[in-house]
């Protein structure tokens, strides 16, 4: 655990306590089985917003707490432990695009209600099943008083019910980012149901007209946004790895076979020691990457390091926790198998491990 300030410790403890009481794994199961169209429980997101979590990375002048990325990471890690379904992370990232962008109009229009959690936002960046920001083909055409956007975005997370979509498009000067009101004429959503039972949507943009103030910035802003998305996703993955490991450890300590508690078998002890070691390494890189965002140093390399490591570690952990549980781990009645279904979705989000290894090498000059 990083050395935290008193406020950060309080925030983390508050999140831990809330997750334990209000959002155990059964809360996720209820959302999944209840068929909530937005893929989460609005009351839960409301509760998070009331605790101020929606505004953690939004400046105070717009109603946020400007509490920093390590603070947001702590909360996302905690909620990730029990697969808490909410647009908290995605919406914070959408807000970030506006905060880091240059449009004063967009800031005034969106940030106060994003900070309060009255609305939430989503990121409409990728256009295929794999993360590939270089392949963005959605176009932005300049009009007399703004822009017209045409294209389609694949697997947009938490777009259902979102008020604002952060859309990447190719304009006359290259990539540009726009804050598009989701209710604009020409925006249509089609649900894509994935293994994690969360909200994923194909977003079609056909002749979507936005004012000039919707333009947030260029390709450099997109890179900064993506690095933040990678690091926050890695924090969620850390929470998942940690918790599914802990649950498995508890299981091994009570399950008896051959007249022995399973945790006494060395074959299992060494696999658990190996997983523990990897999770500790992951914790170090996630905390360092969050801290890098707060100090604005070496962010691109740290983002790729965090995401690649999170992918590798959670991939292994999510497989091992099923195997270590045996048959019960395969059942839907039990919950440990939920982790692998979310894990693979997040592994693909914002770059697979191979993407980030290649990027890390490129940044370092090889």
């Amino acid at each position: 655990m990083a050395v935290l300030s008193d406020e950060q410790t309080m925030l983390r403890d508050m999140a831990r306590e809330w997750v334990k009481k209000e959002s155990p794994i059964d809360a996720f199961r209820k959302v999944r089985d209840g068929g909530a169209p937005a893929g989460f429980d609005p009351a839960a997101f409301q509760a998070m917003a009331e605790m101020g979590w929606a505004g953690i990375v939004i400046p105070e002048e717009f109603g946020g707490s400007d509490f920093g990325w390590l603070s947001l990471g702590l909360v996302v890690e905690e909620t990730g432990k029990t697969l808490t379904a909410s647009p908290l992370a995605t919406s914070a990232l959408a807000a970030t695009a506006i905060v880091l962008g240059t449009s004063a109009g967009a800031k005034a229009q969106w940030l106060p209600s994003l900070a309060s959690g009255a609305i939430y936002g989503a990121l409409a960046i990728d256009e295929g099943p794999r993360h590939d920001p270089a392949a963005i083909a959605t176009t932005a055409t300049k009009t007399a008083d703004g822009w017209t956007i045409d294209g389609a975005k694949a697997f947009v997370h938490d777009a259902h019910g979102a008020a604002v979509l952060i859309v990447a498009a190719r304009g006359p000067d290259g990539i540009a980012l726009f804050a598009v009101p989701a209710d604009t004429v020409g925006v249509t959503l089609a649900t894509r149901t994935l293994t994690d039972a969360r909200s994923h949507t194909k977003v079609s943009l056909s002749g979507v007209k936005v004012p000039a103030t919707a333009e947030l910035g260029d390709g450099e802003l997109l890179d900064r946004l993506l690095d933040r998305a990678r690091i926050v996703t890695a924090a969620e993955m850390l929470g998942m790895a940690e918790h599914s490991f802990g649950v498995t450890l508890d299981y091994l300590k009570q399950r008896v076979q051959f007249g022995q508690i399973l945790s006494t078998f060395q074959a299992l002890q060494h696999r658990m020691a190996e997983l523990f070691t990897r999770i500790e390494l992951l914790r170090s890189v996630v905390e360092a990457a969050l801290a890098a965002l707060d100090s604005n140093s070496d962010v691109p390399a740290m983002a790729s390091l965090a995401k690649a490591t999170a992918n590798d570690v959670l991939h292994l952990v999510s497989r091992e926790v099923i195997q270590l549980h045996g048959g019960i781990g395969m059942t839907d009645e039990y919950f440990i198998g939920f982790y692998i279904k979310r894990a693979r979705v997040l592994e693909n989000a914002w770059g697979a491990a191979s993407f980030h290894r290649d990027r890390y090498a490129r940044i370092a000059g090889y």
Binding site: M1, A2, V3, L249, L252, K253, Q260, I261, S263, T264, F265, Q266, L268, Q269, H270, M272, A273, E274, F276, T277, E280, L281, L282, R283, S284, V285, E287, A288, S304, L305, A308, T309, S354, R357, D358, Y360, A361, R362, A364, G365, Y366
Partner: protein, 404 residues
């Protein structure tokens, strides 16, 4: 008040910085600049000639090779802050500590904690001056990972013991003056039957035979004890307390292995990528031309960075908690595994040119790499093998019990 105290402390550190800087300027021979590698030789600084010997004696007399040890035992008596300043000033001047070895890294810290006053006064000053070289008598042919099953027996003869048995993997045994050893003083108990003895290697009955390793060199020895007489004043702690003391010493050893591995690979970190570019060529973008190997090099570099970040986190958390962080147990396994992986990668990158054993056509660096690659296989075995470390993690940290 608080800030006045802080500035007083800062003033004192500044004054010490000047003292250290002047002393280094006056005593560090210019000929030894960047010759820290001499410390890798069994003869330490003395292998760098008369200047090396003079530098060792100067630092030894000052106690600055063991800066935080008490003055009374030959140490520098410095505060942690002063020791850090000394380090900085040494680095600034291109100087290095000529005092090294097992005495400093493992035995000294243990003796400071468990030794009698007489033992400390007798042995520590010679360690601080690097006048005496120590070796470790722990492993035996039948007691490797299961160290507590050791059989070397110390028979109680009143005012002394008579020791019989065999130790193995005695690092530097052929050059050592003294040996700290775990011996069995009671055959009826396992852990509680072990005592910690200091044995003069010149005692009659001590025989040392170097073991030739796959690397072609002999850093380890077999050490035989044949009716060796050891006075009881050379027992550290009580009879039967050896296992407790011996384990403490191993903690120092593990810290040094992970730290040492870190230093070693950090020094070589740049060259993996540079070597790959040279050996494999570069593409139009200036990247390593072989994408599969490039990806694995990146994977290594990322894992290595995760390891360094974890090392930093351990330090930070230990400082904050005022104790040892429990995750320090993972540092040895991860650090040693990565250093080995790096050596394997280097050989893959360089091909057969990277497998030279001796003779013409190979650079000194290439030959040293080969020996380091083979010799480095020891790191996941000694100091508690990776498997033993995983037992420790499973049992002590994860609370997984022994088989009943």
């Amino acid at each position: 008040m608080a800030s006045a105290a802080r500035s007083q402390e800062a003033d004192a550190l500044d004054a010490f910085r000047h003292e250290a800087r002047d002393w280094i300027a006056a005593n560090f021979p210019a000929s030894l600049r960047d010759k820290a590698g001499a410390m890798m030789s069994p003869y330490g600084a003395d292998s760098a000639g008369a200047d090396g010997t003079a530098w060792r004696k100067a630092v030894g007399a000052k106690g600055w090779g063991t800066p935080t040890w008490p003055r009374a035992y030959g140490g520098g008596g410095l505060s942690r802050g002063e020791a850090a300043v000394l380090n900085q000033e040494m680095a600034r001047a291109g100087a290095w500590s000529p005092i090294g070895g097992m005495g400093i890294m493992m035995f000294g810290p243990t003796l400071l904690e468990y030794g009698s006053e007489a033992q400390k006064l007798r042995h520590l000053p010679a360690i601080c001056a690097a006048d005496i070289r120590w070796c470790q008598g722990y492993s035996e042919p039948g007691a490797g990972s299961d160290l507590a099953s050791l059989q070397t027996f110390a028979e109680d003869m009143g005012d002394h013991y008579v020791v019989n048995g065999q130790k193995t993997w005695t690092s530097g045994g052929q050059w050592a003056d003294w040996c700290f050893a775990l011996v069995r003083s009671d055959k009826t108990k396992k852990h509680e039957g072990i005592s910690f003895l200091l044995i003069d290697m010149k005692s009659p009955g001590v025989t040392v035979k170097p073991i030739r390793m796959i690397s072609g060199i002999s850093p380890f020895c077999e050490t035989f004890f044949d009716n060796v007489k050891v006075p009881k004043e050379n027992r550290v702690g009580e009879e039967g307390e050896g296992w407790t003391i011996g384990k403490r010493l191993l903690q120092h050893e593990r810290t040094n292995i992970s730290g040492g591995g870190g230093r070693m690979a950090a020094a070589m970190a740049q060259s993996l990528v540079e070597q790959a570019k040279a050996s494999l060529g570069t593409d139009a973008e200036g990247r390593i031309a072989e994408p599969e190997l490039r990806s694995r090099i990146a994977k290594f570099e990322m894992d290595w960075r995760a390891f360094l970040l974890t090392t930093a986190r351990v330090t930070q958390e230990s400082k904050a908690a005022g104790g040892v962080s429990e995750i320090s147990s993972i540092l040895k396994t991860v650090g040693t595994r990565l250093v080995q992986e790096r050596a394997e990668l280097m050989i893959e990158i360089t091909g057969l040119q990277g497998l030279g054993w001796e003779g013409e056509g190979f650079s000194a660096a290439e030959l040293a790499n080969v020996r380091g690659w083979l010799g480095g296989k020891a790191s996941t075995i000694y100091g508690g093998s990776t498997e033993i470390q995983n037992n420790v993690i499973a049992k002590r940290i994860l609370g997984m019990l022994d088989h009943q």
